[in-house]
């Protein structure tokens, strides 16, 4: 928290006197102002809100929304979204039976569910070898040599299931807990519930490596929650985020203009009377002003030591790796600034995202090459800086892939059983949870629903998924709809 001081914006404000003061003030950064207007109104969530939090009382708990319900294990989340659906059986879930039955008709071996392209081929063995790594001995395929060196940090969940075999449904589902457009994203829910700890940056950032997931920006939307909880889309280059570059030639000019605005606003009180909504709007200008400095600062990777940049792969020969390396490094820097929820989208590798309906070998190799080294570096860097324990890293696609071929050399979508992993932030390290059948097709042990993943993530962040609700359309809505169980077996 102390590094807030480093930022130029801090010149604008007195040092906070205490942590309590700090929390109170930071809570009024992103989101809180919107809520301040909404909360007293029972139409918005009504009794689910702590009245203490609403008034910004100085108990420091109900800083925004309801605040944590229980012990916080993870303060922040980095969500490594593997767009398109990486294949579980080619990454973290080895299945020798695929070698045994390679080339045979899957319909004779098991019941084949309808697929999206309806062009099912024969059982397809993985083109990659698996080895066991670390003390845990968790097997990882040759696609992830760097991540393999971190397996002892991971809880590998081999029994994820989704409800949808199509990208967009599955994306919305993974991001918002509903297959349809228009619900608030995970990052929006988290910031709604906990508020932001970060004054000069948004609490929910989508670092766009180049591929916006099918379904578009609504994967990061705030749905019926106030606009303040929308994910801000950042690009890991250029100005970073929209409208952050001042239009005036110099800082002085902008400052003068804003001073004029302030003076005129002060006089307008005579016209309006005193109103909270106006005062908040006035205060926003100082926050916006300081954001203009904070964003370029957090994006500036030049200040990182050379060995760190190298570790992430900033010097890689492969451009997608360099892009993802920058994203991972920016993510770490944002975590240090207290950004609550950061999602990384994949860089384009020329061909398709992790969506190899054909040419599995080349496609998965390219996609893995882009993210493997940066992800491993991120985990190691967070660990070495003592941040991993409070940062939850989640690696997940929207579904997995079929153990039988699509055509001859691809795999179709498979929501019936796939692998995700979590690390840090209170997760039990070095474990495998759940399992698929002998072909890696369907989860049969400890099936974990997307709602369960959400419930568990929220739990680690100190939030009871059943109690974090927002009233809309006659219902108390929540990220996990009417479902979800916290999977305690993956929690340390």
């Amino acid at each position: 928290m102390s590094n807030h001081k480093k930022y130029p914006c801090q010149r604008m404000q007195a040092e906070p006197n205490s942590r309590r003061e700090m929390l109170k003030r930071s809570a009024s950064g992103f989101g809180w102002l919107a809520l301040a207007g909404l909360l007293p109104d029972p139409a918005y969530g009504g009794s689910t809100w702590s009245a203490k939090g609403v008034k910004g009382s100085n108990d420091g708990l109900g800083v925004a929304g309801h605040g944590p319900h229980h012990q916080v294990r993870a303060k922040n989340v980095i969500f490594l979204y593997m767009d398109g659906g990486p294949s579980q059986i080619d990454t973290f879930d080895p299945k020798p039976m695929l070698d045994k039955y390679n080339g045979q008709d899957p319909g004779k071996l098991f019941n084949v569910e309808p697929t999206q392209f309806n062009n099912n081929g024969n059982v397809l063995a993985s083109p990659w070898k698996f080895k066991q790594y670390g003390q845990s001995g968790i097997p990882v395929s040759d696609l992830f040599p760097h991540v393999a060196t971190c397996v002892d940090e991971l809880a590998v969940i081999r029994s994820m299931v989704s409800e949808f075999p199509e990208h967009t449904f599955a994306n919305y589902f993974l991001h918002t807990g509903s297959g349809l457009q228009g619900r608030p994203s995970m990052g929006a829910w988290v910031n709604y519930g906990l508020g932001s700890e970060c004054q000069n940056l948004p609490g929910f950032v989508a670092l766009n490596g180049g591929l916006i997931p099918p379904g578009g920006l609504d994967c990061f939307g705030s749905g019926f929650l106030p606009a303040s909880f929308q994910g801000s889309v950042f690009k890991p280059s250029g100005s970073g985020v929209a409208n952050i570059q001042r239009t005036e030639a110099t800082v002085v000019q902008q400052r003068k203009k804003l001073d004029l605005v302030n003076q005129l606003d002060a006089l307008a009180v005579d016209q309006f009377g005193k109103h909270d909504s106006l005062e908040s709007a006035i205060r926003n200008y100082e926050l916006a002003y300081s954001m203009q400095m904070a964003v370029p600062d957090v994006m500036s990777l030049a200040s990182e030591p050379a060995h760190i940049q190298q570790m992430y792969g900033m010097d890689s020969k492969y451009q997608p790796t360099r892009i993802y390396a920058a994203q991972c490094l920016i993510a770490r820097r944002m975590i240090q600034q207290g950004v609550r929820f950061i999602e990384l989208t994949c860089p384009s590798v020329g061909g398709d995202r992790w969506d190899q309906h054909s040419n599995l070998k080349q496609g998965h190799e390219n996609n893995a090459l882009a993210v493997d080294q940066p992800i491993a570096a991120l985990l190691k860097d967070l660990r070495s800086q003592g941040m991993l324990d409070e940062t939850l890293v989640v690696w997940a696609g929207e579904f997995g892939r079929t153990p039988f071929a699509q055509g001859s050399d691809g795999r179709d979508h498979n929501p019936f059983g796939f692998t995700v992993w979590m690390a840090g932030g209170g997760v039990k390290p070095g474990i495998i949870y759940g399992g698929t059948d002998e072909f890696g097709y369907k989860a049969i042990e400890n099936r974990m629903e997307v709602h369960d993943l959400h419930a568990t993530m929220l739990h680690l962040m100190g939030v009871d998924h059943k109690r974090s609700t927002f009233r809309f359309g006659g219902r108390d809505m929540r990220l996990t709809d009417v479902k979800g169980h916290v999977v305690h077996d993956v929690i340390a």
């Binding site: 919107a34 139409a43 001042r246 605005v261 009377g273 200008y285 006659g474 169980h485 305690h488």
Partner: protein
């Protein structure tokens, strides 16, 4: 890794959540401590201990019971009771497994066990993961599954014991009680106008309701606002734009009696009124111009609905008519026509149903339909009724008097209705022509028939054939024979039995009500075998006699063209088929066999519309669209994927080509199809013989008649309206009731629920529906003055938009979870006034804005705030932040860039570098939206305007009668740094400079244009100082514009710019 069954303790640790479930499940009965202790020894004793047992009257031998207790009950307790016992936090699927009776009774899907029949038991299927997959956390070890099989097989032994009961009795869903308990279901009653002490204050009866409550709380209303503030308020509230300097001078200098009322009338008459209030309406119907989802396909011609809404608000279409048009505008006997252009306005209203998200290639196509219907019902019920019917999709409403049956009774109306792109400009006109054409053709057919059957009577002596009496008799006989054959052909029984079995539709005998089409080209009825028609062979008209019975497209209509939205981004394979006004629709049927073959002649397309899925892109459902080549006798669709689904077929001839459809079959073998063709050729041959004989008999008259017939047809044909714009609209399909889906699960249909309106309003009696969907009847019930919802909801919306908060603040939810009305009598007063006053929205608005309640000042007094901090009683008028649209439109107006052009295709959205993803339009729209009002900027679901999103314009997915009003730094960043804003500031500054005024004069002009008031002395001084400093900074000419731009930009960034006092 896998635990053994015997090792229960390990199993529990390994299973993780079942431990939690069991704890939750049995905790109440056993207590957690006991449970923990028992866990070590396994569950053998635990569950029996917890339940009261009775030794006598058991099912099963003692060995069997021991098996049950040892092997089965522990399994159930560990894996099932978290969800299927009386102590479950939530009982899933209504299934209880903690008693034998519970299992016998079963849950939503019927009995769970059939004692003695393991293979026939749902429970066994479920644990085998054959149908259901239970337990959901993972398949049980084979050994456990076998144990359950064995137990069922031996008759499901279970000791006789008192059935466990939950400690808390779950409340039954009692719709009538809920209706009685909640205010909104009660009839609207005329309240008496309350007495007030300060009789001088009220101007309108509604003021008395407000004042009475204030007086009760010992509060006084705030003073009247000043005229400038009131003017600005009225401008924004009524037309969404600020007054120009001229307009504001005009009003402020008019201090005569009634000036405000005159201004109000003027604003209500402004064409901009519809743009402002139309935008409110679009929020309710989740208006968007693309389908979202993966590729953000276009929703072509959605903008026609937007324009319809704007026109309707400008015209002040009575609200009941507006409702009727939305629900059933396609079914009105006398649709409302556009006053100048004469096209059908009413039908455009039905477009609202189809403004939702659409999905391409859904694997579960029925679920996709259920989701689409859910959204349609959700939007319809919130918009018009202010209740959340969709909450009852999976179970009876948790809080409101709305049952699941109510939900599915409404979805029946949608099951019975279809989507189309309607030719709304030509439909009325061409319908008249279609009727005239039918009359014309019938006239000639009658004449011909008479001539042929009575030709002997009418033949003159000069006729060459008149002498040959015998020949004549023979011909007469031929004619009669044919008549008989025609009748025979129409009888399905006359078909070979095997063929009759596979025929779905035979156009020779399709009932009149089932002969439906979009347009008129297939005539008013099918053409039956032997029917006379006019054909043109090598340019020469000739009489023809139909050799088959078929729905036949008529070349009379050739040349129809449709004007659709340009640059459409639509991947649907239907997009290129010229369907509008040219499509024949079969009734809906259930697919029993996936091979559907249709006997056709001609060229065109057939589309199988399965579960109303129409966004056919990608390979998955590509088989539902099939071209028909000219030389094909049968067109075959492979629909194996959809067996058991409901569908209908749509036939469209290629442009300039004809198409005849005779039969639709499913599962017809090649052999049968061949048989049919043979049979057909028999008819065909005799018809041809007849035709020759008849033409011969008629002699020259055949040609004369054909000539006359053709001329009359040509004359009529010349009056066809060939061009028409298209719009999304509804079309009636086959009237059918929907089935209740158990727990909302589309793969579990239950009972049929007849179509009706909400039980709490009209009882659950089926609506009497003459024909088709019944939406017209539904509209009548929504509009019925006795319905307590509709009028209350709309007057409350109007109040909300004007006053900033509804009398019921939750404008879309008047249910139990919504808020109660702050002034219930006022709400009813307004509702009744609205009904009595022709349901005029404009007049309701007028009543409110001329009231004193509306015209209060934003200056509150501290004591009043202390008593009523939330202003629940309306003691003052809180400042209102402008919507994104109003802010942007104001900027354009100030800069002089506002293009007041109304209507038309959306202006493409300006794409920033941060707006990315699949379906991104190829070209970015102009930064300034071509200067058009915001309502005309394209609303693409996946590429919404960041400006609008930041200022809380809702993301279009459901009804949003009340926008959020957030207040975030991103808004400041936009106003500070968005290139559009800076650009407009500069243009505004230019206008100020060009006005060629003095510096103070310019400052004053800018204040007047932005805030409709003059600057105060201190404001003017500060502005002057700033400008003076600016001009001292650099070279003067360039600097003048820059300085004034900076000043303009600063004014835009003051709060007064985006807040109304």
């Amino acid at each position: 890794m896998k635990p053994t069954v015997n090792d229960t303790a390990t199993a529990m640790v390994w299973l993780g959540f079942p431990v939690q479930r069991v704890a939750a499940g049995l905790g109440l009965v056993c207590g957690r401590k006991l449970l923990a202790g028992l866990a070590i020894f396994g569950f053998v004793i635990s569950s029996t201990l917890c339940l009261q047992t009775q030794a006598d009257d058991v099912v099963g031998t003692s060995d069997q019971l021991e098996f049950f207790e040892k092997e089965i009950r522990p399994l159930f307790a560990t894996h099932c009771y978290g969800c299927h016992s009386v102590d479950a936090e939530k009982i899933q699927a209504g299934l209880l497994m903690d008693s034998r009776d519970g299992l016998l009774k079963g849950g939503d899907s019927g009995e769970a066990i059939v004692p003695g029949d393991a293979n026939g038991s749902l429970l066994v299927e479920a644990v085998r993961y054959e149908s259901y997959e239970m337990p959901p956390s993972g398949k049980l070890p084979q050994k456990d599954i076998q144990a359950i099989e064995r137990w069922v097989q031996m008759g499901a032994p279970w000791p006789k014991e008192t059935e466990p009961t939950a400690e808390v009795v779950r409340p039954e869903f009692n719709l009538q009680q809920r209706k009685v308990d909640h205010w909104v279901w009660q009839p609207i009653r005329q309240p008496s106008i309350p007495d007030v002490m300060d009789t001088a204050w009220p101007r309108d009866p509604l003021d008395r309701f407000v004042l009475a409550k204030l007086e009760e709380a010992k509060l006084k209303p705030a003073g009247d606002t000043d005229r400038a503030a009131l003017m600005r308020r009225l401008y924004f509230d009524l037309i969404g734009l600020p007054p120009t300097v001229e307009q504001s001078t005009e009003f402020l200098s008019d201090t005569t009696e009634g000036a405000t009322e005159r201004l109000v009338d003027q604003l209500l008459d402004s064409p901009h009124f519809g743009e402002r209030w139309g935008r409110h309406w679009l929020d309710l119907v989740r208006y968007a111009e693309s389908r979202g989802h993966e590729f953000d396909n276009d929703a072509p011609n959605a903008f026609q609905y937007r324009d319809y809404v704007i026109r309707a608000f400008n015209k002040d279409v009575p609200y009941d008519q507006l409702v009727r048009e939305h629900i059933a505008g396609d079914l009105l006997a006398e649709p409302r026509l556009h006053s100048a252009e004469g096209f059908n306005e009413s039908i455009l209203g039905t477009g609202f149903w189809f403004l939702g998200e659409w999905v391409h290639s859904p694997v579960d196509i029925r679920k996709d339909e259920a989701d689409r219907f859910d959204n349609m019902i959700d939007v319809m019920s919130k918009t018009f009724l202010g209740v959340t019917v969709s909450c009852a999709r999976c179970h009876d409403h948790k809080f409101d008097a709305i049952s699941t049956a109510d939900y599915y009774s409404l979805s029946g109306f949608l099951q019975s209705s279809d989507y189309r792109q309607v030719r709304f400009e030509s439909i009325e006109h061409n319908q008249r022509i279609a009727k005239q054409l039918a009359q014309l053709d019938q006239g000639y057919q009658r004449q011909l028939k008479q001539l042929l059957t009575h030709s002997g009577d009418s033949l003159s002596a000069s006729d060459p054939l008149s002498a040959g009496e015998l020949k004549l008799e023979a011909l007469k006989l031929e004619a009669m024979k044919l008549e008989a054959m025609k009748l025979e052909a129409m009888k399905l029984e006359a078909m070979p039995a095997e063929l009759a079995q596979v025929v779905v539709f035979d156009f020779s005998k399709i009932p009149a009500n089932d002969f439906t089409q979009d347009g008129f080209i297939f005539g008013l009825r099918p053409r039956l075998v032997g029917d006379a028609y006019l054909e043109t062979i090598q340019g020469k008209p000739q009489l023809g006699f139909s050799d088959v019975s078929a729905a036949v497209s008529d070349s009379f209509w050739d040349g129809l063209t449709a004007d659709s939205e340009s640059n459409v981004q639509d991947r649907s394979s239907l997009a290129k088929v010229p369907r509008s006004g040219r499509t024949l629709r079969t009734p809906t049927f259930e697919l029993a066999n996936g091979t559907v073959a249709c006997r056709v002649r001609g060229t065109g397309h057939v589309v199988a519309c399965v579960d109303s899925h129409r966004l056919i892109a990608g390979p998955l459902h590509a088989g539902t669209v099939k071209p028909i080549q000219g030389d094909q006798a049968w067109v075959e669709l492979n629909l194996n994927r959809y067996v058991g689904h409901r569908l209908h077929l749509e036939f469209t001839p290629a442009e300039g080509k004809s198409l005849e459809v005779m039969l639709v079959t499913q599962g017809a073998s090649e052999q049968l199809r061949k048989q049919w063709l043979e049979r057909e050729s028999q008819f065909s041959a005799s018809v041809k013989n007849f035709q020759q004989a008849a033409v011969k008999l008629l002699g020259e008259r055949a040609d004369e008649m054909a000539q006359a017939w053709m001329q009359e047809r040509a004359k009529l044909q010349a009056t066809i309206m060939l061009r028409s714009r298209l719009a999304m609209a509804m079309m009636d399909g086959t009237g059918e009731d929907d089935r209740v889906l158990i727990r909302g699960n589309s793969s579990k249909p239950g009972q049929v629920e007849p179509r009706h309106f909400l039980t709490a309003v009209t009882g659950n009696q089926p609506v009497e529906i003459g024909q088709g969907s019944g939406r017209l009847e539904l509209a009548a019930q929504i509009n019925d003055p006795a319905n307590p919802l509709t009028s209350r909801v709309i007057v409350n919306r109007i109040w909300h938009y004007l006053m900033g908060r509804g009398i019921v603040p939750t404008t879309d939810d008047f249910g139990v979870l919504g808020q109660r009305p702050s002034h219930p009598e006022l709400l009813d007063h307004l509702a009744i006034r609205f009904q009595d006053d022709g349901r005029s929205i404009k007049r309701m608005i007028r009543s409110i804005v001329v009231s004193r309640s509306y015209q209060m000042s934003s200056q509150s007094n501290m004591e009043a705030v202390a008593i009523d901090p939330k202003n629940a009683l309306w003691h003052y008028r809180p400042p209102k932040r402008l919507e994104g649209e109003a802010i942007r439109d104001s900027l354009l107006l100030l800069s002089g860039e506002l293009d007041p052009t109304q209507f038309g295709e959306p202006i493409p959205i300006h794409l920033t570098a941060f707006m990315d993803g699949r379906g991104r339009p190829g070209q970015s729209g102009p930064l300034d939206g071509a200067g058009r009002r915001s309502i005309y900027t394209a609303v693409r679901r996946n590429f919404l305007s960041p400006f609008m999103l930041t200022f809380d314009t809702p993301s279009p997915f459901s009804t949003m009668g009340r926008r959020n009003v957030s207040n975030v730094p991103a808004q400041a960043l936009i106003l500070m740094n968005d290139p559009f804003v800076v650009d407009q500031a500069q243009k505004w500054a230019k206008v100020a400079i060009e006005n060629d005024l003095t510096v103070p004069g310019r400052i004053q002009w800018m204040y007047e244009s932005a805030f409709a008031r003059r600057p105060t002395q201190p404001e003017a001084t500060i502005a002057l100082e700033y400008l003076k400093l600016q001009s001292e900074e650099g070279d003067s000419k360039q600097n003048e514009l820059q300085s004034w731009t900076n000043f303009a930009h600063a004014l835009i960034n003051t709060k007064e710019f985006i807040f109304l006092r």
